[in-house]
Amino acid sequence: MTAKGWKDLVLIGVLVLAAAFVPLVTDGYWLSIAVTAMMYIALTTAWTLFSGPTHYISLATGAFFGVGGYLVATGMSDHDLPFWLMAAIAPVVSVVLAALIGAATLRLSGIYFVIFTLGLAEMIRGLVSWVQNNFLGSRGLYVLTDFTEAHIYWMLLAIAATVYVIGWLIDRSRLGFAMKIIGNDEGVAKHLGIDTARAKVLLFMVTGFFSTLVGAIVAPRYSYIEPNQVFSPELSFMVVIMALLGGTQKLWGPIIGVIPFILIWETITASFPNATTLYLGLCFLAIVYFLPNGVVGLVQKIIAKGRSA
């Protein structure tokens, strides 16, 4: 187990190193796809940190991501604050937000949590739009930086790698062990002395932090930001789909899910630009129905079958 744990870490190290070369060998269209993929890898890994062990399906990614993008935009546009300052503040705001959401909802279980997190992103979007239109004047928010796509790609890669290492460390800690027990039987977990609410809120805060950081780092890509676009429910669903496609039992599951899905998605959005939501729903159903444990789970099952045969 320990040896295998180290192997996982080395494997990820090699992958990160290889991924770092991508902007040197491509540009234009493919680099842009690589940035999108890297964004989703970071978001999905962060999502899996919390939702993998707890089995709580969070649709709050869009809310966190939006906080990142929006705070960077409003800070730079309205207050002339530097990008880095806003990129540092936004995740902290989200950590507080995650703690509040956690305190309010993690005592709820299953479906209520899903609905609350979905509603939350919508609520924040509505609130921000309303404040923007009524009090701040609906001037556009501009995020003007010198970053190239390659810069953004490398920053996202660094975030994804950091999230992975943090997840790897949590996995070996008492907190990670507590999360595994909670995922098995939350009632038993409490009776073993685990403060289940605290453990869940802590991990949710970590997820919130990194999802927001991704939103902040990606903001310069859009240059023009409006709340409707960054607080996107579609993003929350995309993350869930890709995480489930890869499989949430392993922290590297998302990588397996994101890359094929992004390629498929590019094709779908290019061919049927008006029916994306429909296809998103279909993908969601297909994955939940046919691949409940994701590609990783499927591969493990096949290996296990091969061994026993």
Partner: protein
């Protein structure tokens, strides 16, 4: 053995589920190093009492104290840390974890905490003690029902609780397993553990319990040595009336 000081005090405990009074003004004490039987017909409120002590439910009224510290009102995790461990009437092992990790789970966050090497050594020792030495490498799903119960007991012991709650731990065992089970609990008794034992098996009650509290319809109807309560006419009536 029942001369020790009182360690757990249940005072005027009541639990209502809507209109149903599952536990009704129940008071008793558990002394250090004793095995106290909590008996009574089905539906008399034994499991609910265990759930109230372990913090699974908050009482409607009344208090529970462990060595002077108030448990009622605390969450289950705080009660566990304070020194109460339990098994469940319907066994609840952790299917996704190895046997060793199932036991470590009881030590990592419990009353007396262990983690890493020491937790693992203790887990192996406890698994051997409950009779799972030969099964250590197996997945939990490969365990029989009795072996799952053994595993749950090892998990409950791992945090070195002050008070151990066993809810029908002997139920569903065949005669051989039952003898092994009784021997195991009597072993725990010999090492001076404090146990509340909810049990239906009369042999087990007679041979294991220092004292019994008998419940019927949520209320205490008798208290005393196993011989005394089992020959009490009201107790006999409660049992027969229920059959």
């Amino acid at each position: 053995m029942s001369t020790g000081r009182s360690i757990l005090t249940v005072d005027r405990l009541t639990k209502r589920f809507g209109g149903l009074v599952a536990v009704n003004d129940l008071s008793f004490e558990v002394r250090e190093h004793e095995v106290m039987g909590l008996i009574g017909p089905n539906g008399s409120g034994k499991t609910t009492t265990m759930n109230l002590i372990s913090g699974a439910f908050a009482p409607t009224s009344g208090t529970i104290h462990l060595e002077g510290r108030r448990l009622s009102g605390l969450g289950a995790h705080e009660v566990t840390r304070a020194g109460v461990s339990r098994t469940f009437q319907l066994v609840r092992v952790l299917p996704g974890l190895s046997l060793i990790d199932n036991v470590i789970a009881g030590a990592a966050f419990g009353h007396k905490r262990r983690w890493g090497g020491p937790a693992k050594e203790q887990a192996v020792r406890l698994l051997q003690r409950v009779g799972l030495g030969a099964q250590i490498g197996l997945p939990v799903s490969a365990l029989t029902y009795i072996d799952q119960k053994r595993l749950e007991l090892a998990r409950a012991l791992a945090g070195e609780p002050e008070v151990l709650l066993l809810d029908e731990w002997l139920a569903g065992l065949n005669p051989t397993e039952l003898q092994e089970g009784i021997a195991l609990i009597s072993d725990l008794r010999r090492e001076g553990r404090t146990i509340i034992l909810v049990e239906h098996v009369m042999d087990a009650i007679r041979s294991l319990c220092d004292r019994c509290v008998v419940m019927n319809s949520g209320a205490k109807i008798a208290e005393g040595t196993p011989q005394a309560v089992l020959s009490d006419p009201e107790v006999i009536r409660a049992y027969l009336g229920d059959e």
